[in-house]
């Protein structure tokens, strides 16, 4: 019963998220909006019920399983991939390297700046 209660809470939030996103024609996926709403609820409440925590952990520990059917859907796009594989692979590899270097650089600069201002604040 615990698992069912947990799943019900998740589905209710997903449903509210979908309805809100559609009603206000928001460019955010319904489940993501549901995630935000659940997060806000938890932050206000200040705790997670163990039932919900168990269901969520169970569902997320095998998250990979859930996107296998979509991954298999790649077979429908074999022609597209065969035609565009060079563009896809180069974009994928370069963008991955650029994102790694870019975010590491931003984080290094920002955290240095934050600690520097803290230190100079302490010196005064």
């Amino acid at each position: 019963m615990q698992f069912i209660n947990g799943l019900t809470i998740l589905l209710v939030y997903q449903l509210i998220g979908e309805i809100t996103a559609r009603y206000f024609s928001l460019p955010i996926p319904g489940p993501v909006l549901g995630m935000l709403m659940l997060f806000v609820t938890l932050a206000i409440k200040g705790s997670v019920h163990s039932t919900l925590e168990k269901t969520a952990t169970g569902l997320l520990s095998h998250l990979s399983l859930l996107f296998i059917p979509a991954g298999v859907g790649m077979m429908v796009h074999f022609d597209r991939i065969a035609n565009e594989w060079i563009a896809i692979s180069i974009a994928l590899v370069l963008s991955t390297i650029i994102t790694l270097i870019g975010s590491a650089t931003i984080m290094s600069i920002v955290s240095k700046f934050v600690t520097d201002t803290r230190r100079s604040g302490e010196e005064k």
């Binding site: 319904g30 399983l65 996107f67 597209r80 974009a91 963008s95 790694l100 984080m107």
Partner: protein
């Protein structure tokens, strides 16, 4: 007579969701065991192995994807509640997020812009079709959210699923090497870059390096997932 019975059984199986669902779970079971047997090597990610096994089986038996998805959809449906469930790990990291909100939010927002723009612009320059560009755009966030974003942008969610997994594996395999090449030593910085770029697969790799790198990667993954869902639809409007 026996052959006729067999073909009748085959007709029943190919029309019922039972076969597709069982096939998905069995392929995942095999792939997951293989993955853990080889110390969670990202190159043997269960999605890659399982999808390859299933595609091979479907091609051998001349089964259409739609017939398979009759069963696969029951697993696929759980992506929605699993996305909502991501609120729990995000909440569990809330105290850390509050403490580090300034460097965290600047890095995550910057990283999300870089990931989205670089993927779209490079694909565009190399002459990829519009649908491919849109399917590539959310490649750095966790698959369930990336697929939802891709669907919203009129991309191809199943192509996005494959690109997300490939990005994750690529980030996990080359990530630490690239980061030491540009002389990043701080595990917190490495973790942030890994989580923003390579979502859950990168985070799993980060935890193999150190707990600190893993924790920061998880933090970056959770926050960048949400930031991408908010930012990318507008960003795509500017660049496509």
């Amino acid at each position: 007579m026996a052959n006729q019975n067999l073909s009748e059984i085959w007709i029943y199986l190919s029309a019922s969701p039972l076969a597709g669902l069982t096939l998905t779970l069995m392929a995942y079971g095999v792939a997951y065991r293989l993955y853990t047997h080889f110390n969670n090597n990202p190159l043997l990610h269960p999605v890659v192995i399982a999808a390859t096994l299933i595609i091979g089986f479907l091609l051998l038996t001349d089964t259409q994807y739609d017939a398979y998805f009759e069963g696969g959809q029951f697993v696929h449906f759980l992506l929605g509640p699993a996305t909502v469930a991501l609120a729990i790990p995000l909440y569990q990291q809330w105290s850390k997020i509050k403490k580090l909100w300034l460097p965290l939010s600047i890095t995550v927002i910057g990283g999300v812009f870089i990931a989205g723009i670089s993927a779209i612009v490079i694909a565009q320059m190399l002459g990829a079709s519009l649908e491919t560009q849109l399917s590539l755009a959310p490649k750095s966030v966790t698959a369930p959210v990336a697929m939802a974003i891709s669907e919203q942008l009129n991309g191809l969610p199943s192509l996005t699923a494959v690109l997300v997994v490939t990005t994750g594996i690529l980030g996990a395999v080359i990530g630490t090497r690239i980061l030491s090449l540009i002389r990043i030593k701080d595990d917190a910085v490495k973790g942030m870059a890994m989580g923003i770029t390579a979502h859950g697969i990168g985070t799993a790799r980060a935890f193999q390096v150190s707990n600190e790198m893993g924790a920061f990667s998880g933090l970056a993954m959770a926050t960048s997932t949400f930031a991408t869902a908010l930012i990318l639809p507008w960003l795509v409007g500017c660049f496509v």
